[in-house]
């Protein structure tokens, strides 16, 4: 029957959301309950993480006891449990921010259940070992994300949500078609089983189509250029606690998909990796420039995500053991940094005379909020990859993996290393420009409202959550050793897909129930 514990990370939030629906009139009780549920889910994920890290073994669970590949498998291997833990931790911080936020949206009676559903869908998507179940989890993410953004205080919230939903429908279609093509070709939906069968028979005519359709889906999910159009609007307009989740961990679902696609499902399809490198390069430059060109802090960080995801793409695309580790490290660190930065932007908007994060309004507002300035400065250093922050360590790891591969690799492949490296360098400079320009505009320039009645509000959202996240950034920068070591172990798992396959299929042997009719 496996480890029932590993399904709790997403079942607990679902149960919490259901109970939350029943507690609609008691706002405080519902908020407290939801926080407890999320924290509990996070603690459970941490426990599972610890066990997987200690034992070095993947843990699996077969839903309903049906053996794989017939039933749905949930797999907690090094990669999935790391991603799930990252998401849960950021979600707890996001919820804490929501508790102290002044938005109207967070006081709606359905906000907490919806937030929990978003957490459940994301974590489930990362932990599932079944590709159709992944589709269903993505649906849950899409619908809860759409609703949470549509109810935003921002008047463009509904419009942004509509666009996102429409584009997500296309993603659902491509994903479903991709899954269908795989099922037609290999007759199974279990990812481990698929991996085995694909490597045994890679000549199926529909395989390339399935892979490109899956790639397109993951690109839409992680907002890669030119599939990014939904992202800047969506991440800007959604309520800050939600936006901080969307731009930090929810986009990582697509990244995670690529990690699985290139290391587990089709490691032999090198063209996906080339595609990732090219898309990554485009994203890195495009996102950086976009962030430079916007007039809104939240939007700036939304664009910045395009660039940062580009960095990760390049790491996954290089596909060496070092670069995969760097990509995982980058994914985790960026999640922490970006959620903190978006929360700080939201905080500013809540202090501004008019509730918006537009530069023209928040200019100089920071003069009245020095603590947020310190946090923004530290977080900005992390985003720009300056030491001593976790952002530096991830940039260093990525550079290092590229340099090592470039100096040891074959000559004809070199451009795939030095060209991205050069552009990543340029993009880093652009990051420096936009982050510190924002810092100067908001905290250093004088506050000059168009009319003297407009005053900085005395109180805004609570700074507790971003402070915690920024502290985490600094701590992970100063004491980055354990995390860096761990990501290298994750990348060892990733470069040996056999380990994953074996874990799932062995589970079938040991957990098979006493069936009257054997398959």
């Amino acid at each position: 029957m496996g480890d029932v514990v590993i399904i709790l990370p997403f079942l607990l939030p679902i149960a919490g959301a259901a109970v939350g629906m029943l507690l609609r009139r008691w706002h405080r009780l519902r908020a407290g309950w939801s926080l407890v549920v999320l924290a509990l889910a996070c603690a459970v994920t941490a426990t599972v993480f610890w066990q997987v890290a200690q034992s070095g073994q993947a843990r699996t669970f077969q839903m309903g006891g049906w053996p794989s590949p017939f039933g749905i498998t949930i797999v907690a291997d090094a990669l999935s449990v790391t991603m799930a833990l990252m998401s849960q931790v950021v979600f707890v911080f996001g919820f804490v921010y929501a508790l102290g936020a002044k938005d109207k949206a967070v006081h709606y009676e359905t906000f907490h259940p919806l937030f929990l559903m978003l957490a459940a869908g994301l974590t489930g998507g990362m932990l599932t070992g079944d590709i159709f179940n992944l589709f269903v989890m993505i649906e849950l993410v899409v619908i809860s994300g759409t609703v949470l953004t549509a109810i935003s205080d921002d008047r463009f919230g509904t419009e942004a949500a509509y666009k996102y939903f429409l584009i997500s429908l296309i993603a659902s279609f491509t994903l479903l078609f991709g899954i269908g093509s795989l099922y037609v070709s290999y007759g199974t939906l279990n990812m481990a089983d698929l991996a085995q069968r694909i490597s045994a028979n890679p000549e199926q005519p529909l395989l390339p189509i399935a892979l490109i359709l899956l790639s397109i889906t993951f690109m839409i999910k992680s907002a890669a250029v030119p599939f990014h159009f939904w992202q800047p609007d969506f991440h800007t307009a959604s309520p800050t606690p939600v936006s901080a989740m969307l731009s930090s961990v929810v986009v990582k679902l697509g990244v995670y998909g690529f990690m699985r696609l290139t290391t587990l499902l089709a490691p032999s399809a090198t063209w996906i990796k080339d595609l990732l490198i090219v898309t990554g390069i485009v994203g890195v430059i495009f996102g950086g420039l976009g962030a430079l060109g916007t007039h809104n802090v939240k939007r700036m960080f939304a664009y910045s995500t395009l660039a940062q995801v580009g960095f990760i793409y390049i790491g996954v695309g290089w596909g060496t053991s070092l670069s995969l580790a760097a990509a995982v490290l980058f994914t985790i660190n960026h999640a922490i940094i970006k959620s903190a930065m978006l929360m700080l932007s939201g905080y500013l908007a809540s202090r501004a005379p008019v509730k918006t994060a537009s530069f023209s309004v928040v200019r100089g507002v920071g003069r009245y909020a020095p603590l947020s300035g310190v946090l923004f400065f530290l977080g900005g250093m992390a985003l720009a990859g300056l030491p001593p922050s976790n952002g530096f360590i991830s940039k260093w790891a990525l550079f290092w993996s590229g340099v090592v591969a470039a100096t040891s690799g074959a000559i004809q492949d070199r451009w795939t290393y030095w060209l991205p490296l050069g552009l990543v360098g340029i993009s880093s400079v652009i990051t420096l420009v936009y982050v510190f320009r924002a810092l100067m505009r908001i905290w250093w320039e004088p506050f000059e409202p168009p009319s003297p009645e407009e005053k900085v509000k005395p109180r805004g959202d609570s700074l507790l959550a971003p402070a915690g996240l920024v502290t985490l950034c600094v701590l992970l920068g100063l004491l980055g050793q354990p995390l860096t070591d761990w990501t290298q172990r994750v990348s060892e798992w990733m470069t040996q897909p056999g380990k994953y396959v074996q874990a799932v299929l062995q589970a079938e042997e040991t957990h098979r129930r006493n069936f009257s009719v054997q398959p």
Binding site: A17, T110, M117, V147, F227, G293, P387, R437, W444
Partner: protein, 923 residues
Amino acid sequence: MPSLGAEFALALDGLSLLFGLIITGIGTLITIYAGYYFAPHEPTERGEAEGRFFLYLLLFMTAMLGTVLAADVITLFVFWEMTSITSFLLIAYKTSHAASREGAFKALFITGAGGIALLAGLLLASALSDSTDLSKIVHNGDALRASEWYHVMLLLIAFGAFTKSAQFPFHFWLPAAMSAPTPASAFLHSATMVKAGVYLLARLYPAFGSTATWFWMLSLIGMSTMLIGAVIGLRQTDLKALLAYSTISQLGALTMLTGQNTPIAFKALVIGILAHALYKGALFMIAGGVDHATGTRDLRQLGKLWRAMPLTFAVAAVAGLSMAGLPPLLGFLAKESLLTSLLEPTDATITQLVQPAASVLAGALMLTQAAIVSIDTFVTPPGAGFPACFNRPSTSKNHSQHKHHVHDLPLGMLLSPIILGALSLVITTLQPEVVATLLAQAASTTYGNKVKVSLELFHEINLPLVLSGVAIGVGAGLFAWRSQARAVLHHLMLSMDTLYNAILDALDVAAQRVTQLQNGRVRRYLFVMLVAMLVLVVAFGELPRLLSNHILTESLATALQGQITPTEVLRASAMTLAVAASLVSVIIRRDLLAILAFASSGLAVAVLIALEPSPDVALVQAIVDILSMVILVLALSRIPQHQRRQAEALNKHPSISNRYSALLAMGVSLVVFLLSWYALASRPRISVVTPFYERNAKPLTGSADIVGAIVVDFRGFDTLIEICVFGTAGVGVMTLLRLAMKKAEASRLTDSGESENNDLEERSRLTLSNKLSGIDGLRTSPFVRMVARAAMPLSLMLAFVQMVYGHDQPGDGFTAGVTVSLAVGLWYVVFGYERTKQQLAAFKPPLLIGIGVLIVLLSSTSPILFGQPFFSPYNFGEALHLPLPHGFDLTTSLLFELAICLVVLGSAIFILDTLGRPSHMEE
């Protein structure tokens, strides 16, 4: 960080010791000085306590010490970047001044870009040396120089060093950085941080040096920086800016020396570093003091201060003499050794002439500048030595106010410059052995071989001494004619700022272009995305392989040969209907008709599915189709008429972009068609799971219906998540429409007081009188009411039957839920909103959804109590020996179906309730 091959390591050798002593020594003096500098009279801004300054300063000192002590390239880089950051904070110390912010940003931009290049270069060197250990990299010099990456590495590292040390063409950030408080300028931007680049080059000389590239690059860049700094410096009117340019010039000389390959060059290097740190530190502090006392740093306003500030003048004179390179000060020795080393160049071609000549010229200019600092400020009257084209700023009030209480600096502020000035003198006149040893150590470790350093002032009359004399003569001449020299320079525009601004502007323009792409039109977004998808699928999908596959042709052949049965005819007509109806729904202009066409297309698909034959799926398809049609029509009724007409009018005149969209849609459809065709034609597929499901559905789940077994048992978890999706959608619609309305209503009520309230009362009275009428107040006939009344219990019964027996027969919880929802929908239409709400008060959507999801979770958890895995099928009736009628099984599946039914019902009621709410109620 061993996992990335680096660790935190520090080491001390001669070079580090020299730098370390400069940093700590001058650092201490600066801290003492700053304590007085920020003392009471400097007005501090709101929230800008001096504590902040000292925090930054000490952080910087730590970082700088770390940079020179680092024994590992990553450690070095971390501290290197920390110096950039603290420098940024110190330059922008007076944050409310635009000049401070711009200067800080400029410095950060330039040194930040250099830092990234440096990181890449250092990592390359580490990768080629298999270690980030600095000593290993240094010892790996032969391999590095032979590597094909040598030039890349060298360029990257040199870029980092040049930006940090303000070498041409990156020098322009340093003058802008002068907006920092003077103690910071004295420490960071003259004595220590800017020398970090030179330090790095010297440190890496054994690894990269002594090649032609190294020599030419460093010599040329260094020489041009030296000259440009010296020339532009003369033009400056700001005391600190002048000092900044002379620093640039000096840094250029040091870089040039690092490029040489002779022991004497390294001797000159270490002496130059020390001498410059001593006299420039002192001069900066003097400048700060003068600023402090008079309120200005403008050379055109300063003059004749020696009377008021005699002690300050004395110190300035000593430091100025050292800067001018006159004996008996250390500066003289530095210039002597510089000239000596340049006369014995590595590459004995043209450089033998050019470099000394340039140095003599720079030396002369340096003397002039030193004279300006010491003499123009303290001796000559204000404004002397400036041509007319240098417009004097009108004497500000601020300045005149300060003027009458100009007095000498407090001793605390003078202490540090006195010590530094004295050192310049003491080192040469007393020639302490310890300093010579220290310098010799530094030079030797850098060069890699023993370098002798003596601090004797006078050896004999030789060429360098003669050249020195020439420099002094020319410099004195230039000082005498400084007015004319300035006039000439005034017209010489030589500014890298233009280029810097151009780069930033170009970036901004590109950024604007990028953000303009995001024009908010979802149609454009979709167009681009679909084109990209099509391109990707065609590029990577290997479509030709698919097309040439024999399966397609074979399937076509079988289809053509096959006999025409009645089923085939039905199938063909259903298919035609489906395609035609969906086409019509696109083309047709009236929205209501389009919805109806769309729905009929859906029903035709249901027929196709039924013919498959899979009646279960067909039932769901049909019923969902009907429900969505009802919802769409209800939604339509809420859109204002004029908006609907507008939208219809838009469709009347298809634009060009419409045509492109149509083309694109056809392209996408074609690909989808091909793929579907192949997928269907390659049946019977090699399914791994289907045989298992077929064999085990009945014995293990008790369901004869394989679809039911999959949905509820084998893949029940998918269904659980899907009902969460469904519930979330319902909750979402409710939240969005209802709460948003409430919000708008509340704000409107507070906005326009009473008249609105009266209006509302009027309306509610109207509603009451319409209690007997249906939707939109239309009266309904008794017969219709009776049917509607009957429909509710019937639908509930139907739902019950479907749930209980659905496991075996067509029908399931989903269909049950939709059936009941349809009946509820009918009530809304027939009885109107108010009465339906009243009579169906028990149907509370949030409760239905919450309880539904909880039931699934509980029922799927309950098998654990009986020792079965989570989510496994379990027959409670059998286990507990309950007397149940035949065919009725109390199982987890039944609970599951019930839960699905509740969630679907809850969500559908949410939607119907929101859409069915009469429009006047939320206005």
